[in-house]
Structure formats: C-alpha cells, structure tokens
C-alpha cells in the first residue's frame, strides 16, 4: 500500500491498536455461528494492518452475514438484498483511497445478486469479498439456497432440494478477469485469517468463499468435515498459504498447489469432498477497473469549466456579426476545403 511519509511516521509512533478499536456493537448472531469466526478474523486483520477506521468501509447486502458491518467500528453500508457488490463498486470508483470489504451470503451473492457477482469479477476492482456460505437462508428461516446440497430438507424443499448445488468457486474461476479465489472454513481460524489477509493484500477483487456452520438451521451439515480432518484438503504453496507445523499435525491431507495455475485451480475447485482449503488462484496482473477508468483524479473548477466551455463551443451558434474568433477549427478547415478548388 502506498503511504505518505506522514502516515509512515504516524505508524511508527502509533501503538499497536487493540481489537476494541474496530469492534462495533455486540454481535447478535447465534452461538456457534460461523459468522463470528469471520468477524474475529477481519477485526484481527484491521488491527494487524492498522487500518484507519475512517478510511475503511464494510459493505453488505441482506442476510445473517450482512449484519457484519454493524459489528465493526469502521464505516459500514448495510444495503439491500443482493446489491452489496455494485454498492461497493460505486464506493471504490468514487473513492479509490478507501479500503473496501464486502460481506455477502450464499443467497445474497449466488442467488439474488448473481449477476453482480459475475460482473464484479470482470470489473476486478480492488476489494475483498467474503462469501459467507452456510448453504441455507438463515435470516428468513431455513429455505434452500443455491449452494444447498441436493436432498437438503428445508422449508421450501420439504422433500429435499431438487438440484445439485452451485459451486461458487468454479463459477468464479470461469469468469474472465478473475484475479483471486480462495476457500476457507470457519473452524480453522489460523487459515481463515491467513487467507483473508492475503486476500486483503491482493490488488484486485479477491473472492473468498468461507464454508460456515449454521447451528440454528443446519447444525450437523458440516460435522463430517469438522470431525474428520482428512476430509479437508489443505493447499499449500510458497505463493499460497503455508501450513504451520502444529496445524499440519492435525491436517495431514495436504497438496502443493501453485495459485498461478488456473487450470489446476479449476480442477481443485470442482472437488467438494475433501473440501479444498487455501488459495486457488491469484493473478496480480489483471488490470483494475478503477485504474482503467482513472477514478479519483482531482478536478479543479477551472478544469471542469474549460471542458464544459469546449463542449458548448461545439454546439454554439454565434451571432452572425460577432467576432468570428470562436468559430471552430473544423469549420475553418472545411472552408479551406470547400473553396480550394474554386
């Protein structure tokens, strides 16, 4: 991150802020909800990165996950269902200087907001997108979501979900301009933090799907994976995550995966058991939409005025007897052209 000298100095003298600096209201999520793990990870991230609270914005849509901004002591924007991404894009376009995070759920992102999801990947604006995927609609009380496994009984699928679940990773990896895709699970906080931190540092849209437990509606859904570490496939690489020795003792099922390899990333992404955890893909070379559009350049009144006057000139009919000076070059050139042969 580029920083002014004064900011560097500030950092030098600043003491390590405590987590409280970033903690907003008391979370109202259920006990054991995976959202709590994600919140803890982002609060740690803010503290460790010493983010300036006033320059940080958490944007969300609607759903359990989307309450997250309320629990941060930064700027937050709790929007409407499915639209967190375009709101965040507008913020980033207006203010590239802000750090933007998006908290969204499997219904918010993969169902009602699916169009925005696809296009957000294409725009590749510099922001961190956290997909809280609990495979169910929680806030509206247990309806099947696009990521619900086939056969899942819910209030809208009492005889079991009819369709195979949508795989957010393969979808994301299939979109042109994808630049960062990772997967985490809420019950390995060390890896969750590491992934979110790397996502934050990635220049581009980093998409992190977090498999998270819903103790209220699907208390046993992820238990088989929780209880059997062999059903987690940790992807390690010098350019991805590195598994600590203590963690490696538990999670022995590991695989080296180079995040630069998109073909392999797509293969890994298509596996759901074991659950791949790690950074699947990273490409820092994809251009940022806000840079392509030269967002955030300062404008002076004089600059706007001269641009506007130039446009007025294009459409102005000058009084015939007036000073011909304002007549345009194009017109003078045309006169030369039309009189040249006579």
């Amino acid at each position: 991150m580029n920083m002014h000298a004064t900011e560097c100095l500030l950092r030098l003298y600043d003491e390590q802020p405590d987590l409280e600096k970033y903690q907003g209201g008391v979370p109202r999520w259920c006990v054991g909800c995976g959202d709590n793990a994600i919140l803890a990870a982002v609060q740690r991230l803010c503290r460790n990165e010493r983010l300036r609270a006033e320059k940080t914005v958490f944007v969300s849509g609607i759903g359990c996950s989307s309450r997250l901004p309320h629990y941060m002591k930064t700027y937050g924007f709790h929007g409407i269902h499915g639209r967190a991404l375009p709101i965040a894009e507008g913020i980033k376009m207006a203010r590239p200087d802000l750090d933007v995070f998006v908290a969204t759920g499997d219904g918010d992102c993969c169902s009602i907001g699916a169009a925005h999801w696809i296009h957000a990947i294409r725009y590749n604006m510099n922001m961190t997108v956290l997909l809280h995927d609990n495979q169910i609609y929680g806030l509206t009380k247990m309806q099947a979501s696009p990521t619900s496994p086939r056969g899942l009984r819910s209030n809208t699928t009492p005889r079991g979900a009819y369709l195979e679940p949508l795989n957010p990773l393969t979808v994301t990896l299939g979109v042109q301009n994808v630049s960062f895709v990772a997967q985490a699970v809420d019950w390995i906080p060390e890896v969750l933090y590491d992934i979110i931190a790397q996502a934050f540092h990635h220049k581009g849209l980093s998409f992190v799907r977090i498999m998270q437990r819903c103790p209220e509606w699907l208390p046993h859904q992820l238990e088989p994976w929780l209880n059997d570490p062999a059903r987690i496939l940790l992807l390690n690489h010098p350019n991805g995550i590195q598994v600590s020795p203590s963690l490696a003792k538990v999670y022995k099922n590991q695989q080296a995966h180079d995040p630069a390899n998109i073909d392999r990333a797509r293969e890994v992404a298509s596996g759901s058991d074991p659950i791949p955890v790690g950074i699947l893909y990273r490409n820092p070379a994809v251009p940022l939409y806000e840079n392509l559009r030269h967002a955030g350049q300062p404008r002076t009144t004089e600059f706007i005025k001269s641009g506007l006057e130039a446009e007025f000139d294009k459409f102005t009919v000058w009084p015939q007897e007036a000073d011909p000076k304002p007549r345009q070059g194009a017109m003078r050139a045309a006169r030369r052209a039309t009189t040249a042969g006579s």
């Binding site: 958490f58 924007f77 639209r83 507008g90 207006a94 925005h116 030269h294 039309t338």
Partner: protein
Amino acid sequence: MNDTSTLEIPASSQPAGPRAAEKTMTTLTEHVVEVISDSGEGAQRCGQSLGAIAARMGNGIWTVEIIPAEIQPPARSIAGASGNRVRIGSKPVSNGGDEADLVVAFNEQVLLGRVRAGELKPGCIILLESMWREDRDPKIAASYADVHRQLVAEGYRVHEIPMERECRPLAADPRRGKNMFVLGMLCNLYSLDLQLARDQIALAFRKKDQKIVRANVALLEAGHQFAEAHLEFKFRIPATLATVPQIVVNGNTALALGVLASGMEICAMYPITPATSVSHYLSDVFEKVGGVVHQAEDEIAACTFAIGASYAGKCAVTVTSGPGYSLKQEAIGLAVMGEIPLVVINVQRGGPSTGQPTKAEQGDLFSAMFGSHGDAPKVVMAASTIEDCFYSVITARKIAETFNMVVVVLSDTNLATSQQPFPRPQFSEDWLAPPVDQSAVPVGAKPYDWDAATGLARRFIPGQPNGMHTLTGLAHDRASRVAYDPETNEEALHCRSLKLAALQKTLKTPPVFGDPEGDLLVVGWGSTQGTIEEAVTRLRAEGRKVSALHLRFLQPLPAGIKDILQRFKRVMTIEGNWCDRPEDAIIDESNRRYSAVAMLLRARYLVDVDCWSEVRGEPIKPGTIYRVLRARLDQKQEPKK
C-alpha cells in the same frame, strides 16, 4: 469526386423547368418541413442540419426526430419512416408545431405512412424521389404511380424529383448521398445561406476525412443548383438575428451537459431507449473533465453503483427510462432511507412494459413520486424545455446534496430527440458540487442528528474521522443503529418527510402565462410547455380568457398554486398520460381515472380540475390543444356538483 466548382447538372437530366424569372418568392412567418426516408438513408442528418443552418440564420427552430421502432425496418414500408421534422419560424419556436407544410420523401411508402398518420397539411408540398416510377420491379413502379396519383388527387402539390439520378455523378453510393442533395434543395427553397450550410456539413462530418466533407459539399451544391433551376417557388422566413450565442442541442445532450456542469463525477447507467443517448454523449466527453460513465450490468446495479458513489463522495447520477426506473425502485428506497443524495433522470417513453420505446408519453409521474415502497419521500422535477433539461440537472444535484434526498428529473422522448436553440449558459461556480468533506466530525456527533424543524441532518462521508457508522436500509436511530422501537421509527419517518416541506419553503410560485384570472386555466408539466402556451396564445389573440400554468416541481408542489387555481372559473390539465374519456358510456365521476397532475391537484387543493390527454406516442400538437381548449371554453359551465 468531382470538384465542386466544375459541377454541372448533365443536360440530359434536366427536365423542362421554369426559368429563374418565373420563380415565386413567398415570405412566411414559419413552415414545418419534414424529410423522411427509409432508416439509414440519412434523412435524420439532413433534417438536423437544416435546423442547425436555420438557427445559424437566426430563425427560431424546433426539430423532432421521426423514428421507426426498429433499427432496420423493411425498406419502403409504411411503418418505416425515419427522418426529421423541422419547424422554422421568424420568431423563437417552442414546439414541433402542427401538420407539415412541405415534405421531402425518399420513397412513396414512407410518405404514405406520414399521410395516413395525418401529419401533412391539406395541399402540402411534396418533393418525391421519382426513380421508383421506372423501377425494374413492376410492383414497385405500379405502387409508386398509384400513390402519386392518389396524392395528386387529394390535392397535395407533388413534385417528382430524380434525386438519386442527380446524385449519381457525384457519389459512389448515391442512395447515401441523397440527403445532402436534399439539404441543398431545401437551403435553396428556404433562401438559406449556402456558406452556412457548407459550415454545417464540415461540423457534422468533423470526425471524418476531408474528402468526405468535400463530397458532401458537392452534393449540397448540386441540390441547391437543381432547386434553383427546376423548382418554380422559393420561400423566405425572415429571421431576427440572434444577439447572443445560442446552443443548439437536443434534450438528451442538454441533460448530459447539465451533468457535466453540475460537477457530478459519476454517472451509472444501463442501455435503454430513449435515455441512452444521454450516456452516449456523456461517455464521449465526461472523462475529459474527470468524470466516469459506468455502464453497469443492469439497471439495479447502475442505481446501486450510483448510490455507493454518492455515499462515499459527491452526488452521483443514474439515467434511465420507464422500465429501468421500475427496476431501480428498491434501490431508490434505500437512498431515501439512508438519506443518500442521488439524481435519477428518467427520460419517459410509452408504457407500460416495453410499450413504445421510441415514442413520447408522460406516464411515469406517479411512479416517480410514489414509487419504491413504504413512505419514500423524494423530490420530483420535470424539465419543460431543452434549456430546462440543462438547468434541471444542476438544480437537482444541488437539492440532492443540500437535503440528502433523491431527486428525480423527468424528461421524455419529445424533449430527448428535439432540438431548440437556447442562450449559451454562462458558467457559474455555484453549479458545481463542493469538494467531498473530509474534516473530522465532532466526537459523539450522530450521523442522523435530525433537525426538529426541517428534518435535515449532516451527512458523514467515509474518510471523516469520528464519523464512523454503518448506514443501513433498516429502520435506524440518530446514531444509525438498527432500531425497531415505535418512537424512533416514527421520528425517522417524520424527519425524512419534513425535508420535502423544508425544500418547498424555498420554491417560488410558478408564474402564470397570461392573465392572473379568467375563464380557464390550463395546467401542464414537462415537455408540453411550449405547445400549451402556443395554443393559449392563439386563443388569447381571439380574446379568450385563458391562461396557462406550467409546473416544474411536482413534488413538492410550490406554495401559492391554490390561489392561482381559484382565480379561474375552470381548471384543466393537458397531459400525455392516460385519462378516462368522459364520453364513454361506463365512465362517470365515480370511476373516471384522471391524468396524473389533475389527480394531484384535485387531491392537494380540493379544487375541481378536469383533464384532457393524448397518448398517441407523438408530441401533442398546438393546433390540437387549441381546438380542445376552444371547445372547453365554448362549453356551458357545468352545474356545481
């Protein structure tokens, strides 16, 4: 290409025509001219150029595009007429006028379409491409002869002109070059300065090669000479030379210039007719002044993108038409709830549903005022002229940021595609948005610290130290904390509503056009201002006691309107949205659906307001309004109910 100076019309192509000495010169106060062709033959450019040249001469002009609904309708079809109507006057012109006085048609079928639509005056002069008479396809030749005979029989003054044949020596593709030939003819017929026409061509083709400019000028001059040699009549519409520089643009370009001038930086949009051309123009120029036009993936994204941009910076704008406006409604509710400034431009078209995308209608007033869900107070303005399109956006931005509100600017197809000159605006720094406030907020200050009297609160923008809060679409208290308690909810609703009243206190009562009292007051809004006032002027010249009132602010309505209404024996609105026809057998007072503003005025002022509307998709003609008002004035006063 031929050199213009050596241009001569081949002798073989010169039918026996009148000598110049036999020409008649008629001086007119105004004429309505139409140029129509198949789509893609350039009649639009011809008409627009004619308008621009006349404007340069100092004439009042109004140009209207004649647009088929399809991009490439079948050639030579009645529904395929594409072109331009130009009303040229000695004095300023405020609308497209009545039926045409002179029509140039590239084939008889598109002409027939206009005749059937009742767009030609009786005895209208027609300049008709004659090549179809000898078409290889006997059906086409027969159709041409048939229509020609019919038109002559109906009393139209038809002049057959071999346009394409005349262009052939000058253009590789005479079908595409014809339009400039026609422009030359029209310049001759209306005694317009040929050099101004050459200038106009240079301007219109400024992005093209000089060779193309020269080729088109050659065609122009050929047309001019042809008319001089072969047509026995000429007109002159004396102009009052303009003393100030004028801008000649259509309403959509004026809206885009307004966005530029307002200091807004981000416009998010999704393509939709007829609003899109605002963004076409803006896309071309906005970046030059540091702005961004973001073409979003859909209408909802366009609106929420603009909301995000507004929330974090200067007020942003989203531009759309009816169906797109419907899609934005939920997001507009969010902006109302979060008190995020936002300008939404809705260039109305015919509805509902896909309706008539290229046609004019004023059908979205109520969805603009009452749309979204719950109580969502927002400001609604309607641009009434091309010039007003420009200034409305500047005003809208200012209101949006002063009151932290959504401001909807309504335009319509009629303004979108029409051109009318207006004085070149004098730049003012006041137009621009102030820089984004990044100063520290006092510790403990609340983001919704509503003022009890006005409902206003200071907006906290990301980057402002101590201002951190989470904006939410949920009900919230002054600190932006989610709040479901009855008192807080009511207080918030109360304050958001008060802002409209606070704005209303700053609005001026609109002026009455005509006497402040009389027999009939005609109320209008939006693009019909010029048309209504023209009709009223004609009636007033006949001694009728009729006046007009035009509303620019529909929500809130300015103070003082009730007083105006009460000074007239009768009040009626003229609108471009549906109202039930009282003459229908099953329509009576208990079930009649009124036009939007009539309903609004009745509800607000408890005054009896009648209405008349037309929803034919075409701009309402001043002559039509004149007849409606005259009939209404002749009616005996209905007994008071």
